[in-house]
């Protein structure tokens, strides 16, 4: 049992045309150890793991040295021979990870040596499923959390020594997320497995891993023990990631956002990959390669100037820790929008049971709840995308009979006052329309044709984009830029209330902070009110003045954000707050 289970050296992945996606990654994994590989999209973290598993998509080629014990995994066919038996991997999305045409039991049986009902029940119990009937269910009959547990049981069926988990909790609800991560860590310990946790969430990695590797644009920038990195990050990117993560325990005036986007790995060869976005970058950073070849036991950073800028980084972190902002109670006067007794059923299922809600001018109301609680349905009823069964919606005290059927004139006013920003900006922008055409569509519908682009340029400026974007199409934009366009489009009609339905949850942390800051600025400048629908309590803490907590179609608690989150009255709210990733452990480490 000596030596590491898995050792990776100089692992690189290139496309068929020679473009680098990942360069010179090195790390090792020992029995019973959990390491976290942290990075935003485009960092190469998933590609690296797929290369190790021999599951790279066609057209990508891996080079380097990957050893599983004595076996060279990059030799053709080697990975396939050991997959499942010694090394296995589970994926992010529990909704697409299981064969939809097979029962959970059948999926589990595929990896078992002696598949029998007893063995299957025992394996399900290991991942916390005590109901053996689950074995007979199809994936579509199971919740996301259960699917992820079945996936874990299936991955463990052949008793592998190494489990790689790619964002195992990202697609789940907050409370389920915590359960799955705990389950993974516990199972890893109990079985003495080596566990690799891939995540974009630094806090999550800190809470579950022994060591952490930070990847950026296909390169390793910082590596070391969790405690050391959490206590003192030595690469500006790691610090940036930590600071852009919205703190859940208090509000800050402005979130730290890393400007720009993650560049393609190929474009930053031969220099520090982070130089373009780094506040401390100097000529030396742009002239010489600065990535970590391999990870040793010690805490290491690829930053060329780490010793010079160390104190400044520490100081920035301390300043951030002190910076706090108070939520303002704007819930005074007459409400802008009032919802009374909103009820909605889909088929036999009651989704909303008499919702009463007010949004006051200029305030941000956070609407939180887990999936299936009905929070999106409220938002959709409010703009007439769904039709409520009963209830009343008023704008400025005047009833909007029903946004789905109300009179045309009343509706035009309502639509002008209330606009919507969706979670996935790519799905809401016509891929064939340029941004110019997208804006023109709305301006023309509003009777304000904009021939000389002044209005469109002004819209772009408001969301921090240059007029050059008018001629681009959605596919040419990054996720953050698309969401800026979606916000600009919503602003075109001069709304007073913007409904943001999970508007930042699909974005990378650093980009998320940019968008949240943008929304805050817009609220200040235009007196805009928000209905902020989200499952992310940390985002609510930063954005909302008041919070409404939704559980199974009922609002169970409403109040100022600090009161609800610091002293929740309802048990359900308490569960939500305590399930925030890594909350307890982070606090004990005195983190940002």
């Amino acid at each position: 049992m000596n030596g590491p289970l898995l050792s990776v050296e100089t692992l690189s992945v290139r496309t068929a045309s020679g473009a680098t996606l990942l360069r010179d990654l090195g790390f090792s994994l020992s029995r019973g150890e959990t390491i976290g590989i942290v990075g935003e999209s485009g960092s190469g973290k998933s590609i690296a793991m797929r290369a190790i598993m021999g599951l790279l998509p066609a057209g990508l080629e891996a080079t380097g040295d990957v050893r599983l014990g004595e076996t060279d995994l990059l030799r053709p066919g080697a990975a396939a021979a050991h997959r499942g038996k010694r090394i296995t991997m589970m994926f992010q999305d529990p909704f697409t990870m299981l064969n939809p045409l097979q029962t959970a039991g059948d999926t589990l049986a595929e990896g078992l040596h002696r598949p029998g009902a007893d063995e299957i029940a025992r394996r399900l119990a290991e991942v916390g499923i005590d109901d053996p009937a689950v074995a007979r269910r199809y994936p579509f009959e199971l919740s996301g959390g259960l699917r992820q547990r079945v996936g874990l049981a299936a991955a463990l069926a052949n008793d592998p020594e190494i489990l790689i988990a790619d964002e195992p909790s990202t697609a789940l609800d907050v409370t389920t997320q915590a359960e799955i991560v705990d389950l993974l860590a516990r199972t890893g310990r109990e079985r003495g497995m080596g566990l690799v946790l891939i995540t974009h969430d630094l806090r999550l990695a800190f809470s579950a891993c022994d060591r952490v590797l930070v990847l950026y644009a296909g390169a390793l920038l910082e590596a070391g023990g969790t405690d050391e990195i959490a206590a003192q990050p030595r690469h500006p990117y790691t610090l940036g990631l930590l600071l852009s993560e919205p703190p859940a325990d208090r509000r800050v005036k402005e979130l730290h956002a890393i400007p720009g986007v993650v560049p393609p790995a190929e474009s930053v060869l031969g220099r520090c990959p982070f130089a373009e976005r780094c506040d401390w970058a100097s000529t030396v950073c742009r002239a010489s390669d600065a990535v970590l070849g391999s990870e040793g036991d010690a805490h290491r950073s690829a930053c060329l100037r780490q010793d010079e800028i160390g104190p400044e980084m520490a100081e920035r972190r301390a300043r951030r820790r002190a910076a706090a902002d108070a939520a303002v109670d704007r819930a005074t006067g007459a409400p802008l929008v009032r919802i009374v007794g909103l009820t909605k059923s889909f088929g036999a299922g009651r989704v909303l049971e008499g919702i009463n809600l007010e949004v006051y001018p200029g305030e941000c109301l956070g609407l939180v709840g887990e999936s299936g609680s009905g929070k999106s349905t409220i938002a959709r009823c409010l703009v007439g995308l769904e039709r409520a069964d009963a209830g009343e919606i008023t704008l400025d005290g005047a009833a909007v009979a029903d946004p789905a059927t109300g009179s045309a004139a009343a509706l035009v006013d309502f639509r002008r006052a209330v606009q919507f920003v969706f979670q996935d900006p790519y799905a809401t922008l016509n891929p064939r329309h340029s941004i110019r055409k997208c804006f023109d569509e709305i301006l023309r519908a509003d009777g304000r044709p904009d021939r000389d682009d002044t209005e469109k340029t002004a819209l772009l400026e408001q969301v921090g984009l240059t007029p050059a974007y008018l001629d681009r199409r959605p596919a040419q934009l990054s996720g953050g830029e698309r969401q800026r366009i979606a916000i600009a489009r919503a602003l075109a009609l001069g709304p007073r209330l913007l409904i943001c339905d999970e508007a930042v949850s699909a974005l990378d942390v650093s980009v998320q902070a940019q968008i949240l800051n943008l929304l805050k600025r817009l609220a200040r400048d235009r007196g805009l009110a928000y209905l902020f629908v989200t499952h992310d309590l940390a985002v609510v803490r930063q954005m909302a003045d008041r919070v409404a907590v939704l559980e199974r179609g009922r609002i169970i608690e409403t109040g100022p954000v600090d009161r609800v989150m610091d002293a929740p009255a309802e048990p359900y709210t308490k569960t939500l707050v305590s399930a925030l990733p890594g909350r307890s452990r982070l606090q004990s480490r005195g983190d940002a």
Binding site: M53, L55, M89, M90, P100, F140, A155
Partner: protein, 322 residues
């Protein structure tokens, strides 16, 4: 599940009734609007006296308004009497049922060839995407679909039947057993199959390629599930859903294509019956044969929907009806 199945089938068949009525009205009107006169067809083109003609019209109720004629036909049809053929004096039911087995044989034989050849070819092409095998399968199937069944039929007749002498060039093998029949109908079924094979090959290929990208396939590989099982239980079974969707269209298209093929191969099936009836304006036969086709199409669709449920547990009876 079984009760749900029976209820579902009963419901589907029940809702087919108004559809059949509409089809019968449509066919009736179309035939009457077409140029030519049924009564002169009765005389076989011979010139007869006006009185004799009137008597003939009265006998076949051709002098009454169209609506009355239709209702009269409908009334009889409900009692199982679809009239008699103007040409052969044979009851329509007998004429259709006499000819139907051959056409059904041909259709299902061709459909079997299409599925048994098309699905594996599509799968093989998808698994070796971009290879020479892939390209030749796609090219050949496109060649097949762009050649009408009667043209490929003639080719097959000449080379496999006449030159190579592998299969009979004439006759339906009616009096022989199953294998005689199959032997006789192989060339026509092949001709028929070639014309729709490409659709199945392309759909299967596209569906399997799409499945290969799915997370659950990657996860199965990561768990070390054997490639053979991944191919059958993951790729093929999931890819079958779109193929089954197309299967109903394919069976119906094959049935329609059978009309040409029966004539090319001089087979006494429904197709040739229908063509003769149209040529001679034999309205009762046209009506009867068309209704038979419609019932067939409806049954195929019901069967497809049942197949769906068996393949995909997410689809439930009642939901598939919508």
């Amino acid at each position: 599940m079984n009760r749900a199945l029976i209820r579902y089938v009963a419901l589907r068949l029940f809702t087919a009734i108004p559809l059949l009525l509409v089809i019968s009205v449509f066919v009736f009107v179309l035939v009457h609007l077409a140029p030519g006169d049924a009564a002169s067809a009765l005389t076989g083109g011979r010139a007869i006296s006006q009185e004799a003609m009137d008597a003939l019209r009265a006998k076949y109720h051709l002098d009454e308004p169209m609506v009355v004629q239709y209702l009269r036909w409908l009334g009889d049809a409900l009692t199982g009497d679809f009239g008699t053929s103007v040409q052969t004096r044979q009851p329509v039911v007998t004429a259709v049922l006499d000819r139907a087995p051959l056409s059904l044989w041909l259709t299902f034989y061709a459909a079997m060839i299409v599925l048994c050849a098309g699905v594996p070819l599509g799968l093989a092409a998808a698994l070796r995407q971009g290879s020479r095998l892939d390209r030749s399968v796609v090219t050949l199937s496109v060649f097949g679909v762009s050649t009408p069944a009667f043209v490929s039929g003639l080719f097959l007749l000449y080379y496999l039947g006449f030159v190579a002498g592998l299969f009979p060039v004439f006759g339906a093998g009616r009096d022989g057993g199953f294998w005689t029949r199959a032997w006789h109908l192989t060339l026509p079924a092949l001709a028929l199959a070639l014309s729709v094979l490409a659709i199945v090959v392309k759909i299967t290929r596209a569906a399997v390629i799409e499945e290969m990208e799915k997370d659950y396939v990657a996860f199965a590989r990561a768990r070390g599930v054997p490639e053979r099982r991944i191919m059958l239980s993951y790729l093929l079974r999931n890819a079958m859903v779109p193929v089954v969707t197309a299967a109903s269209v394919i069976v119906v298209a094959t049935m329609a294509g059978a009309i040409y093929v029966e004539i090319t191969f001089a087979l006494p099936g429904l197709g040739s019956l229908l063509v003769d009836a149209v040529r001679q304006r034999d309205i009762p036969v046209i009506q009867g044969a068309t209704l038979f086709f419609s019932v067939f199409v409806i049954l195929v669709n019901v069967a497809t929907d049942i197949l769906y449920v068996l393949i995909d547990p997410r689809i439930q009876f009642g939901k598939a009806a919508r």
